[in-house]
Symmetry: C2
Subunit: 510 residues, 2 copies
């Protein structure tokens, strides 16, 4: 297979920055075209498969992933630098996500069946028989994410949601974890084979560089794109998708600083405890969560002083872990150096020193609202364990800073009952800015549930109308089709008279 | 108000191409900015208004439109050239649409409330309390359409859906019907005032040229755009929206030839009757419907000959009506002349001659599948009463032509039971191509209902994931927000414990 013209690449042990043998053959542009052709050919067959069979396929992927045993979370930990406990938990989340989407497929609510029966005698004109259901968009390209080598990668949320919707999926594996990626891709292929899915329901390409991903997004057979990564990478894919003869939706989750507002009564009651807990959230996974708390807003008073002192003390004892890749580590070092060198910014604390090869020390900075007003770029994401406390004079100033931040995945309030009246003024701002508004917790934990939203206004994502986590994620790969007066035998099964499943008849549940 | 620098413009009597007095002052760029500022200021207040009050506002708009009396449909007919019966019917549809959206608002299903109760004792980690609801995107810019001066214009579908969703609306009135537009805008303002809506809930700008619309789409306070019109106009707005610092969704309904497939048994049984009925659909409203049947596909046989003969006979007697604008008339004349001059195309029939000032004769052409394969542009829209019959040798060839057409609003089958087996092969193609698949009817009638989809894959629309007609249209102006562990008093009313309204609890209706 690997002839002289085939490019090879290696996984990298994140902790040592050394290559992991053996090498992997990179996919070629011909491989991309072949995968797209196979996905397009599989589309009609795959979407016609019944709910039970499709659900069984999703569950089988989960089973095959578990059957890989401990070698999978071990390899994910090695390639990502994340602790084994974390990658083991992430495997559970990945499998749980697939099983939850199997339930969603069986439940059938995702089809949004609506039936408006004919009124043939209506005056002045009869009403036809109208039946609506959601159908899948078509083959979906999914880009694996470096920071969740399992849950947002090869068999991650986008793959699960798209397969659940009835879309064939082509994964572009993330080059930072090719071994993990290959193991999971094999599990999906095994599950597809075992459950009799059509060839082409799952395609897989991999390699360094951007040309494979670009070719995938530009292929006319691809109908939608899911991506989690940097703002630059996401915007590049959006531009490619929009420049196509037929533009397609791109769901790119890009960057977020996830503002945390510390309200005065909460700070007065437990400023020090909040500071310590904050550092736990900030440094989790080397700060490489999309929901990392990179911005803290509070009104300056003694409670905030206590928060900062406790946070600084906790951070000072923090031993850094390897970062995901050398590129991410270098970008973090550059971003934090820029903050440290900014005369409007004060460094509150740093963690224990990193080795500068795989790890970097965590950083905590402070500034004031006037500085943010003068330079809004101060609130932009530095991916990793870096955060900025913005000290505000009063609630007005805090609200003004909040209004100035970009779209976010999350916005958090720490508050006590005495803060509720002031918080009532802030909630309308937070819900305009973020996909998830939370209280008295930390954003770095995203429950996979029916009511979860992991999404948010631009630039947190490229399309704030959807979520990438939770069962509502299936909606992003669907579009509505209405069937008017179609003979029974030509209707999709779920629209026929007497079909089971949730539906609205004349707008009412039936 | 109309100082020396203010540009003035006139409505045009479509039938005579003469200006209608008095002149209207065109809005300025400052007016656009002012409307956007007012809409942004109104957003939080308007979206906080209860369902009953918002529904009453929508109903009041309908009442105020009816209170304008017969002068409104008369003016709409004069400015559009459409028959009075049609504009009177369109008024009914417009008012009915507003009342239907009032029901939608009261029903509450649009909020998609989901609650996943906390599981504080769950191991290894507790589950927080998660509550999801849809919230409005923000101020919406709506562009009035020339071909539906009431139902798709100032108080048309997009306006009704966006106001129902809780979005302030700024309408850019279509310059082809400024008097109609002014009357309806006045009705909306009166309704807003009477029902105590916040200032800025409805804004209105008007004028010739593209600069006002461009400024509206580029204004950072606008969160989404609704448009119905030409492909060029729609794509220009999409480009502007994508080039913003914060890109926004554009729902542009652009062009569609709405393929009609005549199946052999249906043609054999009633080819002539189909031909006559087809001409009725083709020429309705001078062919200026988005769902006009501009492409007919059939297998060549005697039934098709009978269809063509009957269609030609009916068309030959058709007296043309004025077209909407001089520009549309000129584009129609140019497009049909190009078809007539194409050596691969044969003219089957033409209607009675137009006056070349306001009306043009209807045209019917034929070609074969090989010609379409050689020049796919043959199947592109010529807006107006022009259609192209594509003669195919067999079902394979017909399926191939169908696969080659662009995205469509509708796709129609005329068929008899003997055609069902063959049709079963075509339906998967049709549903991939169109937002509405219909049988044994004509596409030029779009029911306003729960199960309607008036949308479809690009280039029929710029975003095939939604509909512009029917109650599902409200979804296009919403996005999900999750509230995690928020204190009861800070939650939106519909998410509080014990709140009425439809909801899913742990994914199940409760």
């Amino acid at each position: 297979m690997a002839g002289p013209d085939v490019q090879e690449f290696h996984g990298i042990d994140a902790a040592t920055a050394q290559p992991i043998e053996p090498a992997h053959a990179a996919s070629t542009l011909a491989d991309v075209a072949e995968a797209c052709a196979a996905a397009a050919a599989a589309f009609d067959a795959y979407r016609a498969i019944g709910a039970e069979e499709r659900a069984a396929f999703l569950e089988a992927i989960g089973d095959e992933i578990m059957a890989l045993g401990d070698a999978l979370p071990a390899m994910a930990a090695r390639e990502s630098g994340l602790p084994l406990g974390r990658t083991t938990g992430e495997r559970g989340r990945t499998v749980g996500q697939l099983k939850l989407f199997a339930q969603v497929v069986r439940d059938g609510r995702w089809r949004q069946v609506r039936i408006d029966p004919a009124m043939r005698d209506r005056q002045p004109l009869p009403r036809p028989d109208l039946r609506l259901r959601m159908m899948p968009l078509g083959p979906v390209a999914v880009f694996g994410a470096s920071n969740f080598p399992l849950a947002f990668s090869t068999a991650g949320g986008d793959t699960a949601a798209a397969l659940a919707a009835g879309c064939p999926v082509i994964v572009k594996g993330h080059p930072a974890h090719p071994n993990t990626d290959a193991m999971v891709a094999g599990a999906i292929r095994a599950a597809a084979k075992r459950t009799g899915m059509p060839d082409g329901v799952f395609g897989h390409v991999r390699g360094p560089g951007n040309d494979l991903g670009a070719a995938l997004v530009q292929d006319p057979r691809i109908a939608a794109v899911g991506f989690t990564g940097s703002r630059g990478g996401g915007l590049a894919l959006v531009r490619l998708a929009q420049a196509r003869a037929v533009p397609i939706p791109v769901y790119a989750e890009m960057s977020s600083v996830n503002p945390v507002v510390l309200m005065p009564a909460a700070l007065a009651a437990r400023g020090a405890a909040l500071g310590e807990a904050f550092v736990g959230s900030l440094t989790m996974g080397s700060g490489q969560f999309c929901t990392n708390p990179g911005l803290v807003l509070a009104i300056e008073d003694e409670g905030l002083d206590a928060f900062e002192a406790a946070a600084a003390a906790a951070l000072g004892k923090h031993a850094p872990q390897p970062m995901l890749t050398g590129g991410i580590r270098a970008a973090f070092a550059k971003g934090t150096a820029a903050l440290a060198g900014n005369p409007a910014v004060r460094e509150l604390a740093a963690g224990l020193e990193g080795d500068g090869v795989a790890s970097e020390m965590a950083r905590l900075f402070a500034t004031d609202a006037a500085a943010v007003r003068a330079d809004p770029a101060l609130t932009e994401e530095v991916f990793g364990a870096s955060s900025l406390v913005v000290r505000c004079r009063d609630l007005d100033e805090l609200a003004t800073v909040l209004e100035s931040v970009e779209g976010q995945l999350t916005a958090t309030l720490h508050l006590d009952p005495a803060d509720h009246d002031d918080a009532r003024r802030l909630v309308p701002i937070l819900e305009r800015k973020a996909g998830r508004v939370m209280a008295n917790g930390w954003p770095t934990g995203v429950e996979v549930a029916h009511a979860m939203v992991h999404g948010g206004p631009f630039p947190a994502t490229s399309d704030g109308r959807s979520t990438s986590v939770g069962t509502m994620a299936i909606d992003r790969f669907l579009r509505p089709v209405c069937y008017q007066d179609l003979p029974e035998m030509l209707l999709p099964a779920e629209l026929r008279d007497g079909a089971d499943g949730p539906k609205l008849v004349d707008g009412k549940p039936a």
